[in-house]
Structures are given as structure tokens and as C-alpha cells.
């Protein structure tokens, strides 16, 4: 396994559904909850909107880990967006693991608008998970000098 160099700060790209997880993360912010700053948030209207190519593209462009977070099953603003996402990323995660990409790099979570505290736990879990597997260097777009 990659050696645990403590000064490695992973880039995490998080796709947050607008109605629940984005509001939950916002709540964590307004209630001054401290959590690791490694996350870059992309707001989407629903976790069902996240296309698995986004995950692949993010990993290609330098993300060390990707998080997709949506509403708890049953709370989805569009009724079944998160159910579709659940199947999609179950398959995507297994497939990337099959290629050699550690499962800690692709995570999914249900965070509702009122779960600011859970958001902190999720982020810490994801960041520590990615730190444990080290930087993503498998199929990143090389910064070519030529």
C-alpha cells in the first residue's frame, strides 16, 4: 500500500445534491463546524444527475477522491434520483476497484439538510480514507512538458 506520508493533502471533488447535501454542508458552515478543507464542492440538482463519466473525468484531472452525496432514500426532491445514483455508483465503484483504483477514492453518502454534524464525519472519513491510500497516480492526465 502507498506509504502514509502525513503531509499529503488530497484533492476531493464532491458532487452535492442541491436540496439536501449542499444544504447540510451549508449548515455545517454556518454552525462553525470544523472539518478538513480538502473538499471542492460541485452543486448538482440531484445525485441522480451525476454521470459516472464525471467521476472518471475528475480522477483524470487530478482529484484523489470523489464523493457523491445526496438525499436519504425517500427524501429525494425528484422522488427517485438517489435510487438511480445508488445503482450507478455501486457498479462504478466495483469496476474502478477491478481496474486497480482503491475503493476509498469513490465514496457516496446520504446527508440531509439538517445533518451538519454528519457532513463533518463524512468528510473526515473520506479525507482520511484517501490519505490512507495516497495520491491518485493511475490514469491521471500527465502534465506534459511536451
Amino acid at each position: 500500500m502507498a506509504e502514509k506520508n502525513s503531509d499529503f493533502e488530497p484533492n476531493i471533488v464532491a458532487f452535492l445534491c442541491n436540496w439536501c447535501s449542499y444544504a447540510g454542508a451549508d449548515l455545517a458552515g454556518t454552525s462553525r463546524i470544523q472539518y478538513p478543507p480538502n473538499v471542492r464542492v460541485i452543486r448538482v440538482m440531484c445525485s441522480g444527475r451525476v454521470n459516472p463519466l464525471f467521476v472518471m473525468n475528475a480522477l483524470q484531472q487530478g482529484a484523489d477522491g470523489v464523493l457523491i452525496s445526496g438525499c436519504h432514500p425517500g427524501d429525494c426532491h425528484y422522488m427517485q434520483g438517489n435510487y438511480y445514483a445508488r445503482r450507478r455508483f455501486m457498479l462504478m465503484r466495483n469496476f474502478l476497484e477491478y481496474l486497480g483504483v482503491e475503493p476509498e477514492r469513490v465514496r457516496m453518502s446520504w446527508v440531509s439538510a439538517s445533518e451538519g454534524a454528519k457532513w463533518k464525519e463524512v468528510i473526515e472519513e473520506v479525507v482520511n480514507g484517501v490519505k490512507s491510500v495516497g495520491p491518485m497516480n493511475k490514469f491521471q492526465r500527465r502534465q506534459l512538458n511536451w
Binding site: 472518471m56 438511480y84 445503482r87 455501486m90 457498479l91 469496476f95 457516496m108 490514469f139
Partner: protein
């Protein structure tokens, strides 16, 4: 095995119908043991039709591959049916295409061929290289009989059989208008042993394995173009705005291409094995598709191309789908 005369008789009957525009079958190749697709539009051309273990192509791909040209003003579009010959595995492509509403059932005439296994042409040509004159392959009992240049060679079936046939679950076509031979009972199953073995390796080993394959890829897209399930008019690969996959050929873009291609077949690939057969640099593409195939079967108890009425896998869900990986 299917008698050629009976096959040609049925084909002559079908192509003579005035509601059938074209019949897609197999004919002898231009050298050695090869066979290739045949496109029949008139009864006179029927005598070139054959079926033998050399007929490896999946003809279902041509139903969605034909370009639809704009109809000149004053002419009616030709809506007559297309007849297609399908083996067991090929027929599942028809079922899956119809499940996804690529076309209606009444647009095609299906001539089903119960199949007892086809050859892996690389193995045949490795075993009997440099055969130029037309050779025949037949199956008798559990032996392949190869006759060429006046010679007659017998080879145990196992040694030349294509890998996909060693795990074939549907030798008899699932959809047909006419069956050209008696049904063939299922003679194999898939225990995914090669997939499981690869899954057990460490992340580094797995990536080293795939890195070597993906670095060889030349992005000729034959695996996409041969696939009966790849029939989008505007493939994500060719989009420029946004450009998901760049056209440059390097490890990163090749990996992205193979992830996207395999993922688009999750719950759709019917294991006809064509992508791996056509790959000029021999990338084991079926090992990618069958990983999804295994997961989909275990997680969602779903097998593509078996039930035309079932909803497509990723267009549906169950409330109790597994979510143990979700925080």
C-alpha cells in the same frame, strides 16, 4: 448442425416475400477458413449462404449500423423488413435492442440457428497457418473437422472452441420466427473464475495488468463499432462541446475510453464476445464487460438480453438495493 440446403431453402422463401427488403446471413470468406457477413437482396444470391462453426460474427449489429440517408423528395422510405440469422448469443442482442426500443419486433424477421459452438479463428489459424484456398470447418460429435487443400484434420472441440462458447448459457436463440434446426440444450455455464481470480489481486497488480493492455490500445474503435449495443447516433466519444475524452492516444485517455465503453454496457452487454475478437492488439475486453455482468447478476439478479419486456437495468431500481458502501 444446420444443413446448408435447408438454410438456403428457408432463406429463398424469406427473401422472396415482398415485405422483406434484405436478408443478412453468412458466406464463405476470401481466404482460408474465414466466413463473413452476406447481404442478400434477391433470391438468386441465396446460394452463397452458409452456416458453420467459422461464422463468428454477430449479425445483430447491422440492424442498427446501417446509415439512414435522407429520402429524396417524392420518394417513400423503404419500410420493408430486414431478415437476420442469429445464433443463440446473437439473438440476445436482438432482445436487448428491442428492450431498449431501438426498433419494433415487426421490423425484423429472425431466422434462429441453434448453435453448438463456434471456433476461435486465431487458434485455428495458429494451428493451421498459411491456408489460402477456401477451407471448411464442421463439427461432428465433439470434434471439429477441418478440410482444406485436400487434407482432412480432426481436432478435439475443446482446443479450437471460442472462449465465449465454453461458458454459453443460451445456445438456442431466445427470439426467432423460424428455427433452422432442432433446439440445442444448454451445455455450459459461467462461473466467472477468471474474473474472480483477477478481483483477488492487489490494487497495484490489477493496475499493472490493465495498464499494459490500455497502453497498447490504438483507439481504432472497432470494439465500439462491432458492438450491437453501441448504436448511439452521437457517441460521447465524438462530442466536442464538452469533450469528455480527448482524441490524443495515451494511457489516461485510453483508460477513460475503456471505462466509458464498458460502463455504457453495464447491464446491456450480452456477451457475444465480438469486441475481444476484433481487437487488433488483443485487449481482453470481455474481462471488462464480464465484471459488470457478474456484479449485475449478483447485486440485481438481472441478465441482459433475456426478457424484452423487462425495464433496462439502470433505468429502474429497487428500494432495497444494496447500499452498504454508502456512508
Amino acid at each position: 448442425m444446420v444443413e446448408v440446403e435447408k438454410l438456403r431453402e428457408i432463406a429463398r422463401e424469406v427473401i422472396s416475400r415482398d415485405d422483406v427488403r434484405q436478408l443478412i446471413g453468412y458466406r464463405q470468406g476470401t481466404y482460408g477458413f474465414r466466413a463473413r457477413p452476406a447481404f442478400i437482396t434477391s433470391p438468386e444470391e441465396v446460394d452463397q449462404l452458409i452456416f458453420s462453426p467459422a461464422c463468428v460474427n454477430n449479425l445483430a449489429t447491422y440492424l442498427t449500423l446501417e446509415e439512414k440517408l435522407p429520402v429524396p423528395r417524392g420518394q417513400e422510405p423503404d419500410l420493408r423488413k430486414v431478415a437476420v440469422m442469429v445464433k443463440g448469443c446473437d439473438s440476445r442482442a436482438l432482445v436487448q435492442q428491442m428492450e431498449e426500443k431501438a426498433y419494433e419486433r415487426d421490423r425484423i424477421v429472425v431466422l434462429g440457428i441453434p448453435c453448438t459452438g463456434v471456433v476461435d479463428m486465431d487458434k485455428v489459424e495458429e494451428r493451421f497457418p498459411n491456408v489460402l484456398s477456401r477451407g471448411e470447418i464442421a463439427l461432428e460429435g465433439d470434434k471439429f473437422i477441418l478440410s482444406f487443400d485436400g487434407r482432412r484434420e480432426e481436432v478435439p472441440k475443446e482446443e479450437l472452441l471460442a472462449d465465449k462458447c465454453k461458458r454459453c448459457r443460451y445456445p438456442t436463440p431466445l427470439v426467432y420466427d423460424q428455427l433452422l434446426d432442432q433446439e440445442v440444450a444448454r451445455f455450459a455455464d459461467d462461473d466467472y473464475s477468471d474474473i474472480v481470480e483477477l478481483e483477488k489481486r492487489s490494487a497495484e497488480e490489477k493496475w499493472a495488468y490493465w495498464e499494459e493492455k490500455f497502453s497498447r490500445c490504438i483507439r481504432c474503435y472497432s470494439c465500439r463499432n462491432v458492438c450491437p449495443m453501441c448504436y448511439c447516433e452521437d457517441c460521447v466519444l465524438d462530442r466536442l462541446n464538452p469533450q469528455w475524452m480527448r482524441r490524443s492516444v495515451d494511457l489516461s485517455e485510453n483508460t477513460a475510453y475503456h471505462i466509458a465503453r464498458a460502463y455504457h454496457l453495464a447491464g446491456r452487454c450480452i456477451q457475444c464476445g465480438e469486441c475481444q475478437r476484433v481487437c487488433p492488439v488483443e485487449i481482453p475486453l470481455m474481462e471488462l464487460n464480464r465484471k459488470f455482468y457478474k456484479d449485475v447478476e449478483e447485486l440485481y439478479d438481472y441478465e441482459p438480453g433475456t426478457d424484452a419486456e423487462a425495464p433496462p437495468l439502470l433505468a429502474t431500481f429497487k428500494v432495497d438495493d444494496r447500499e452498504d458502501f454508502i456512508l
